[in-house]
């Protein structure tokens, strides 16, 4: 793309000028905060007026101790993983099945565009609103979810979802699945549409069954987009905050069973004003995400060098 403009090199410096505003903002509001968080993790800082004080590895020692003693830090890692896994497995399987269904030219489903739009809708709604809404819908003894489950005889009497650790976790995972399956489905649909039609044609000529076609063509061809989707889902899932925060009013109740890693950072930083320690937790989380993404990439693309 540069070849024809290369004789106009005298204009090149305008390039710097044009990208400058973006990089200034990025330096101040993205890059500096990251480096600053690393620095702050070696300090004790209790907020606004008192300047941070360098304490070396003290916060990390505390983090490590908390980890060994099974405190809130390891608990929050465990919670986040539970919430993510119970959401991502049904979400991906459902999204993939629906994507195949809605891109299949051989069924006569009409209004595919409409279904696609409605399935995507929950993803668009402000997470804070979704969290607040379900806090009421999951209410006990009278809430829409209990009313429905009792009306359909699935439950004999109303169940207090938000008092039980696993019920709260599975409720949040289900809400997340509900919010995200449509989004993931759209991504998969785009991936399937990008697969060359000849491949399916060839499979049909060879008399392949639907399952064989899925296993030998659709799935391998979807690998790049799967990789993208898994990586972004890990990053987004492990930095989960809004729904458990709003649904439990920031408490992570019952007994911190849904306190996520970012909720822990927020609480340490802006409720307890242990900003130095909160930074160390954030760095811990960053390292955690980095390692997991690295392993995931190895796992998905074993042959390639990552």
């Amino acid at each position: 793309m540069f070849k024809s403009l290369s004789k106009n090199d005298k204009y090149a410096h305008y390039g710097y000028l044009f990208i400058l505003p973006f990089f200034i903002v990025m330096a101040i509001f993205i890059v500096y905060p990251i480096l600053n968080t690393i620095y702050l993790s070696f300090t004790v800082w209790e907020g606004a007026t008192i300047p941070p004080e360098w304490v070396g590895l003290k916060n990390y020692r505390r983090l490590f101790q908390d980890f060994l003693q099974g405190g809130i830090f390891p608990q929050s890692i465990k919670n986040t993983w539970i919430l993510w896994i119970f959401n991502v497995i049904p979400q991906f399987i459902g999204a993939l099945a629906l994507a195949i269904l809605l891109t299949d030219k051989h069924n006569r489903i009409k209004g595919k565009e409409g279904f696609r739009a409605i399935f995507y809708l929950p993803n668009l709604i402000t997470m804070a609103s979704v969290g607040a809404l379900f806090a009421f819908l999951l209410g006990h003894p009278k809430g829409a979810v209990n009313d429905l489950l009792v009306a359909f005889n699935i439950l004999k009497e109303p169940f207090n979802f938000l008092q039980n650790a696993w019920a709260t976790r599975l409720s949040i995972s289900t809400i997340l699945t509900w919010m995200w399956f449509g989004y993931t489905m759209i991504i998969f649909m785009a991936g399937i549409k990008a697969i060359p039609e000849e491949l399916f044609e060839a499979a049909r000529v060879d008399g392949a069954t639907k399952w064989q076609t899925f296993k030998s063509i659709t799935l391998p061809q979807l690998r790049p987009i799967m990789t993208y989707q898994v990586v972004t889902s890990i990053i987004g899932g492990l930095s989960m905050y809004d729904i458990p925060q709003v649904l439990t009013n920031g408490t992570g109740a019952p007994q911190n069973s849904v306190t996520t890693m970012v909720m822990h950072i927020y609480r340490q930083g802006f409720t307890n004003y242990n900003l130095g320690y909160a930074s160390a937790v954030a760095i811990g989380l960053f390292v955690h995400i980095f390692i997991v993404v690295f392993i995931a990439l190895r796992f998905i693309n074993p042959k390639e060098d990552v």
């Binding site: 540069f2 403009l5 090199d9 204009y11 390039g15 710097y16 044009f18 990208i19 505003p21 973006f22 903002v25 101040i28 509001f29 993205i30 890059v31 500096y32 990251i34 600053n36 968080t37 702050l40 629906l98 069924n107 006569r108 489903i109 739009a117 409605i118 995507y120 929950p122 668009l124 709604i125 402000t126 997470m127 804070a128 609103s129 809404l133 379900f134 009421f136 819908l137 009278k142 829409a144 509900w178 449509g182 991504i187 785009a190 991936g191 987009i225 990053i235 930095s239 905050y241 709003v246 009013n249 950072i265 927020y266 930083g269 802006f270 900003l275 909160a278 930074s279 954030a282 960053f286």
Partner: protein
């Protein structure tokens, strides 16, 4: 395909329809209950499931408004997302254009930096962000939410790809021969040509900013500057047992999005795929 006749549906197709419609109902049901409950009084909500609208919408609205004025939230959210998206549309496109058409040293490396910045979730650097905002004296200032919107990596990435294919180098050169200035070329030619991609990614970023909770919670403490998500996140605490008023507050935060989606769903879904497929 056509063997069975165009008008007959097989049993499989009917089951498929039932399944898809059932799923669509599940997607919409929580919002339905939200809207219905927002129109009933607390007694009706406490009695159990309501399937039809009630008569208390205005009462609930007045009760809700007497505690928290959600319209102030709308104003703040509109200012943040609106001004931020407008700034992003201009400076983000300028950046994309710079990368797309100027051969300067470090072009590829700097573009890589932008791509890498997409991989770091902003939740992780909130403490450092809080410190910067404080040093810049931007606490309790909507600018702390607006200005960072300019640094949207997805926007620059997608608009650059678009300009690479939609804006031929020859057009830029002939404008130069006609004596146009560089910034003049950008304002008068590049912006209009890039506008489809700006609209797609602009909408994407607008929604994204509208839905933010964590960063506004940290930066905004003043009640008069709260955005809609902060107000809704506090609804349970503010309204306590007044479920009807709380439902009304939540419904008011959601219904505008539902209406916007009804009109723009095609573009919004276009933005979702645009952000990912080429990545």
């Amino acid at each position: 395909m056509g063997k069975k006749g165009a008008f007959r549906l097989s049993i499989g197709d009917i089951l498929l329809y039932i399944f898809l419609i059932g799923l669509a109902v599940i997607c919409f049901l929580p919002f339905y209950f939200m809207i219905i409950n927002a129109t009933h009084d607390n007694a009706a909500i406490a009695r159990g499931m309501n399937l039809l609208p009630g008569k208390y919408a205005i009462d609930n609205y007045l009760k809700m408004k007497s505690r928290v004025n959600i319209w102030i939230g709308f104003r703040n959210s509109l200012i943040v997302s609106g001004v931020g998206t407008a700034l992003l549309a201009y400076f983000g496109t300028l950046t994309a254009y710079g990368f797309s058409k100027y051969k300067f040293v470090g072009n590829k490396a700097l573009f890589w930096v932008i791509l890498c910045s997409m991989m770091v979730p902003p939740q992780l650097s909130v403490i450092g962000f809080y410190d910067v905002v404080q040093k810049l004296k931007l606490m309790n200032n909507l600018l702390a939410l607006i200005i960072p919107m300019i640094a949207s990596a997805q926007f620059v990435y997608f608009v650059k790809l678009y300009l690479d294919s939609a804006l031929p180098d020859s057009i830029v050169e002939s404008a130069r021969i006609d004596g146009a200035t560089e910034i003049g070329i950008f304002n008068k030619m590049v912006l209009p040509i890039a506008s489809p991609s700006i609209a797609t990614m602009g909408m994407f970023n607008f929604i994204n900013s509208w839905n933010q909770l964590l960063i506004p919670q940290i930066v905004i403490r003043d009640e008069k500057l709260r955005t809609v998500p902060i107000i809704v996140a506090n609804a349970k605490g503010v309204y306590r047992t007044d479920f009807a008023a709380a439902y009304m507050a939540i419904a008011l935060s959601v219904v505008p999005i539902l209406i916007a989606f009804a009109f723009f769903s095609k573009y919004i879904i276009g933005g979702v795929t645009a952000g990912s497929v080429k990545g």
